[in-house]
Symmetry: C2
Subunit: 225 residues, 2 copies
Amino acid sequence: MTTYYDKHPKFHVAVDCIIFGFNKDGLSLLLLKRNMEPFMGEWSLMGGFVQTGESVDDAAKRVLKEYTGLDQVYMKQVGAFGDVNREPDERVISVAYYALININDYDKQLVEEHNGYWAGINDLPPLLFDHLQMVEQARELMKKKASREPIGFNLLPELFTLTQLQNLYEAIYGCTIDKRNFRKKVADMDFIEQTEFIDKTSSRRGARLYKFNDKTYSKSPKFRL
Amino acid sequence: MTTYYDKHPKFHVAVDCIIFGFNKDGLSLLLLKRNMEPFMGEWSLMGGFVQTGESVDDAAKRVLKEYTGLDQVYMKQVGAFGDVNREPDERVISVAYYALININDYDKQLVEEHNGYWAGINDLPPLLFDHLQMVEQARELMKKKASREPIGFNLLPELFTLTQLQNLYEAIYGCTIDKRNFRKKVADMDFIEQTEFIDKTSSRRGARLYKFNDKTYSKSPKFRL
DNA sequence: TAATTGAAGTGTAAGCTGTACACTTTCGTG
DNA sequence: CACGAAAGTGTACAGCTTACACTTCAATTA
C-alpha cells in the first residue's frame, strides 16, 4: 500500500561533533585526520550517520563515545545543516552538536586509533565540507551560553584555580578580563567554592583551588561571567 | 557499486514553521487544523517534507510560501527534532524554523484553503507530535534574539506607534514595561525614526507614528530593548 | 461650549553594575 | 638572601537601570 509518506524522498542524516577542550594553551577542538576513504587525509569533525531506531541526539552521543570513550558529556545541538551540495558525492543532511570535555579525561588510545588530534581554536586546519561553518556557529552559541550558565566548568578539572577560570573565560570571549573585577564577580557566586587545597604547579607561591558546587548553584542559579 | 554511503539508512526529513504574528491582542501563531489525512482535524504547525535538490532552508521557505503566499520573510532555524517516535507512524526527522510576519499582510485565501487559523500564543490548542516543544523553543529563541537585534519590526506594520512597539515587547517578554523608561531607550536609538504621520485609530488625541530605518541601524547597530 | 474621557507624552532621583586602575604578598630558586 | 613570578587584594567614577505621577491633547457628550 502506498502511504502518505511514500511520496517523499529520504536522506542520509549525519551528526557532527564540535568537541571543545581547554588547557593552558587555550581552547582546542578535537579533530579527525581521516584515515579512511572517502576523504582520506583530510581534516574533519568527528561524525557519523544516524541509524534506524536511534534518535539524532543519541547518534551524537554514540559518535562522541565511539571516538573518545566518553559518556554523559555536556552536549548541545547547534543546528541542522542542509545545503544540497554540502557534501560533494551524496546528499547528506547533518546535525551539529558541540561538546565540552575535560581535555585530560578521555580515552587517548581510542582517539589515536581514529587519528584524532587537538587543534587550537584559532589555528584550525582547513576542514571538509561546511565543518568550519559548524565550528563558528558552535563557538558563538557556546560563548553566549557560557556567559549566562555555568557550563565552562565542564572544560576544567574538578579543582581549578581562579587564574585557570579566568583564562578559560578569556579564551571563550576572545578578550582579556581585569583580574580584580573577575575575582569580585566570582566571590559573589556562592557556588564557586574555595577548597582547602593549593595548586603548586603553576607558581612558587601556590594558588588556591576552587570547585563548582552544582547543588548550591541550583538553589540560586544566578550566574554572569 | 556499493559506496560508503549505502551502508547507512535514510530518513524522511521535514520542516515545520512556527509563524508569529502580532496585533492588539498580542502574539499569535498561524496554525493548521488539518483538513487531510493523516491526522485530519488535529492542530499542527505548517510543515512539509524536504525534497530532492532542495536545501532544508529552502524547504522551509517553500512551505511558508505555500501556506501564506509570503516571500522574503524573516526566518531562523530553531533546530532539528529527531526522536525516534516523534511521529507515530513513520520515522521523520524534522527541522523547525520560526518566522515573523506582519499579521495583516499574507494571502488570506491560501490560508483559508489550508484551514489555517491564528491562535493566541498563550492559548494554543493541543498540537500534534512534538510541535508544542518546537513552539516553546522557538519562543525562547525569538525572545533572546529580539532583545539584542531589531527583529521585532518584522511583526509590525511599516509605521507604528510607540505604544504598539511597547505592547509588542511586553508580549514577547511576557511582562510589563515602564512607559517612560521604554521611551527613553527608544529615543536613544536613531534608527527608530519619528515620521510626520499621526495614528488616529487608537485614541482621540492621536499618536505619533514611527518607522524603523534599516540603513541607519546598520551604521551603528546598537540595540537593546 | 464646557466638561468628560482615554490614551499620549514627559523628567528626575537613587541605587546598582561595570570598569579602570597598581601595589603587596608569597615562596621557591639561584 | 636577593630575585623572579604568579597570587592576591580595594576604591572611585561613570553609566545604566529602575521606580515613580502628572499634564497634554482632541474628540465626544452633556
